[in-house]
C-alpha cells in the first residue's frame, strides 16, 4: 500500500508524486492523498467534531456537578441534579411524552402504510395530483396548523386530551411517512404480489404477509422519524392541551427553565439528559435492526 509512484492531481494538472509522500490509504479507497492533505483534512474533521461534542460534554459535566455554570469544570459526580429534575416533574413529563410518541407513531404508521400501498399499487384517479399534495404537505410548517387545529379541537371538545393530541401529532408526520413508504413499496417487485395472488391470497393477506414484511426497513424508518418528531413536540401540546398533568417533556423543560427565576444549569442539564435517554436507546436499537438490510436477495433474480 502506498509504495508505488502515483499520479496526483493538483489544481487540475497531474504531476508525479514521490512514494514517500503518499500516505497509507485503506484498501479500496478511490482517492490517494498526500500526508499533508490527510493531516489538514483530519484536523478539520476534529474541529467540526469538537464543535458538536463540546456542548454535549458540557451538558454531561453540568448534570453531574453541584455548581454548574456556563463554564466547564471537572464534575463532582453528584446525582442531586437528577433528583431535583425528577422532583420538578421530569418523570411525569417523560411518561407523557412516551404516551404521545407511541400512540402517534402507531396511528401514523398504520395510516401511512395503507395509504402508501394503495398509492403505489392501485390505479387511483388523480394519483399524480394527490402525490404532489402529499409532498407539499411534508413541508408545511406546524405554525400554520396551530390555530386551525386549536379552533377545530375546541369545537369538537378534543382539547386537553393526550389521545387527540397524539392524533394531531400523527397527522403532522403522516405526509412524510406516506412519501417515504410509497417510494419504499415501489421498490418491492410486483412479482411477489402476483405470485401470492395467483396462489389464492386476497388483498389483505398479500399486504400483511408479503408487502409489509418486505417493506419492514422502510416502515421502521418512518416509525422512528414519527417517534422522534412526536417526542420533541412542543407547540402542538402547548396550544391544544392546557392540562399541566399532560405536559410532555419538551414543554416541561421549557417551563422548568424559567421556574425558579434564574436558570439552574445543573438540574436543567439533568432534565435534558433524562429526556434524551429514550431516543438514544431507540437509536441504538434501530441501527442494529437496520443493519439487517434489504431482504429481496434470493426472491427475485437480479
Amino acid at each position: 500500500m502506498g509504495t508505488a509512484v502515483t499520479a496526483k492531481e493538483v489544481g487540475g494538472e497531474t504531476q508525479g508524486v514521490e512514494a514517500s509522500q503518499v500516505a497509507d490509504v485503506p484498501k479500496g479507497s478511490l482517492v490517494r492523498r498526500t500526508k499533508r492533505q490527510r493531516f489538514i483534512l483530519d484536523g478539520i474533521i476534529v474541529l467540526v467534531g469538537l464543535a458538536f461534542i463540546l456542548p454535549m460534554l458540557w451538558l454531561l459535566d453540568a448534570a453531574f456537578s453541584n455548581n454548574a455554570s456556563q463554564a466547564m469544570s471537572v464534575p463532582q459526580l453528584t446525582f442531586g441534579n437528577f433528583k431535583a429534575a425528577i422532583a420538578a416533574g421530569a418523570g411525569g413529563a417523560i411518561k407523557n411524552s412516551l404516551y404521545l410518541a407511541i400512540v402517534s407513531t402507531f396511528i401514523a404508521t398504520v395510516v401511512s402504510i395503507l395509504a402508501a400501498y394503495v398509492l403505489s399499487r392501485r390505479r387511483v384517479p388523480l394519483k399524480g395530483a394527490m402525490l404532489i399534495v402529499v409532498l407539499f404537505l411534508t413541508g408545511l410548517p406546524i405554525t400554520l396548523l396551530l390555530i386551525p387545529i386549536y379552533v377545530m379541537y375546541v369545537h369538537l371538545g378534543w382539547d386537553n386530551s393526550p389521545f387527540y393530541t397524539s392524533v394531531a401529532l400523527a397527522a403532522t408526520s403522516v405526509p412524510f411517512a406516506i412519501w417515504l413508504l410509497k417510494n419504499f413499496i415501489d421498490q418491492v417487485p410486483r412479482e411477489f404480489e402476483e405470485a401470492a395472488a395467483i396462489e389464492g391470497a386476497g388483498g389483505v393477506r398479500i399486504l400483511w404477509r408479503i408487502v409489509i414484511p418486505l417493506a419492514t426497513p422502510g416502515i421502521f424508518v418512518a416509525a422512528i422519524l414519527t417517534f422522534i418528531n412526536s417526542w420533541g413536540a412542543f407547540l402542538l401540546p402547548l396550544v391544544i392541551d392546557a392540562n399541566p398533568q399532560n405536559t410532555p417533556g419538551a414543554l416541561g423543560i421549557y417551563e422548568f427553565m424559567s421556574a425558579n427565576g434564574r436558570v439552574q444549569f445543573g438540574p436543567l442539564s439533568a432534565y435534558a439528559i433524562l429526556f434524551s435517554l429514550p431516543v438514544i436507546v431507540l437509536y441504538l436499537i434501530s441501527t442494529r435492526w437496520l443493519h439487517g438490510g434489504f431482504a429481496f436477495a434470493g426472491g427475485v433474480k437480479g
Binding site: A197, I198, E199, G299
Partner: protein, 366 residues
Amino acid sequence: MAKIVLEGVDKLFKGKPRPAVESLDLEVEDGEFLVMVGPSGCGKTTTLRMIAGFETPTHGVIRIGGKAMNNVLPKDRNLAMVFQNYALFPHMSVAKNLSFGMKARREPRAKINKDVETIASMLGIDSLLDRKPSELSGGERQRVALGRALLRRPEAFLMDEPLSNLDAALRVQMRLEIKRIHTQFPVTTVYVTHDQVEAMTMADRIALMNAGRLQQTAVPESIYDHPANAFVAGFIGTPKINFFTGTVVRDGGTPRVSFLECSCSVNGSAGAALEKLSSSTVTVGFRPEEIRVAPEGGGRLPTAKCVVEMVEPLGPETNVVARCGDQLFVCRTSARSGLEAGDAVTMEFDTSQMKLFDAESGGSLE
C-alpha cells in the same frame, strides 16, 4: 384440468403505437403442453399475463374451463404460475413458500404438511425446506417454484420463461424434468419462451407469435416442415433457414423457379399457387441440411458453384458458410467435410424440400 380459449383477444397499452396483442384466437386443449414462442416483444408474455388475470384484454374473451374469465381476479382463476425470476418470497423459508398457497386457501394443516413433504421429496428439495431462497442455487429455486405451482393443484399451469435464468446444462436437465412432471401430472400447460429449442423439444403444439400476431399454431414437426410464412421458417431451425430471391418463369407448362444458378419446376399445390401469383419474384427457402456438397459427377438435383467463406466445426456436424454470387448461405454437412475457407465447391439443393414464400407478404405458397 381445463381447456383455455382465447377469442379475438386484443391488448393495447396506453401510449404504445401498436397493440401488444392483436386478434388472437387460440385454443389450448385439456392436458396439452402448448408452447408460446417468439422474439422479444411479440406479445407472448402479455398473453400469458392476460390468461393469468394480471392484464385485462382490451377486446375479446378468455375462457378457462368454458367460463369467461375477463372479470375474474387472478386468485379466483385456479391457475398456477412459474415466473421467470421464480418470485419466491425471500423472507420465508422453502417450506413456507411451498405451503403459502395452501394456507391462503385455508386447507387443513395436516394435509398441508403431508403434501409439502411429498412434493418436496419428488422434486429433490426435501433437504432444503428450512432454507431461505437466498441460500439456494438457481436450479433449486426453480424446483421450489415448480413445487409451489404443483401444490396449487390448478386447472392449468402458466410458465413464463422459467428456464431462461439457468445455465445451459441445467436448462437441458430441467426441460426433461418439466416434461416428466407433465407426463406424471398431465395438466393443461401454457409455456412461454423465446428459445425455439425449448419449443421444439417440449411442446405438444407450438404457437408462434410475432409483433402481437399469432403466426402459426401446429405440432413441432409441422411448424418445421410446413411453416406458414417466411417468419416462421426463419424463426424455427438452427442454423436459420436460407432465403434466396427466386424468379418465376411461366411459359404455359409447369411453372419454374430459378434462383442462384439453378432452376427447377414446381408441381402440386405450390405450382398452382405460383400460377395465381401476379408477381414474378418469390422467396425461396432451403434449410441448411437441404443444401449439400454435390457428389462427383453431379446428380439429379440442381447445383450452384460456390466459394466457401467459413467453416464452423460443431463436433457431430459442420456448418459451411458459402457464397454464390452475392448471396451468402449456410449448409450443414457431416463432420470432417474437408472443406476450407476459399475452396470452390459445387452445392446441390434438395428441391423436394424447397419452401416458397410470397416475396411481399411472406406467406407460404404451399
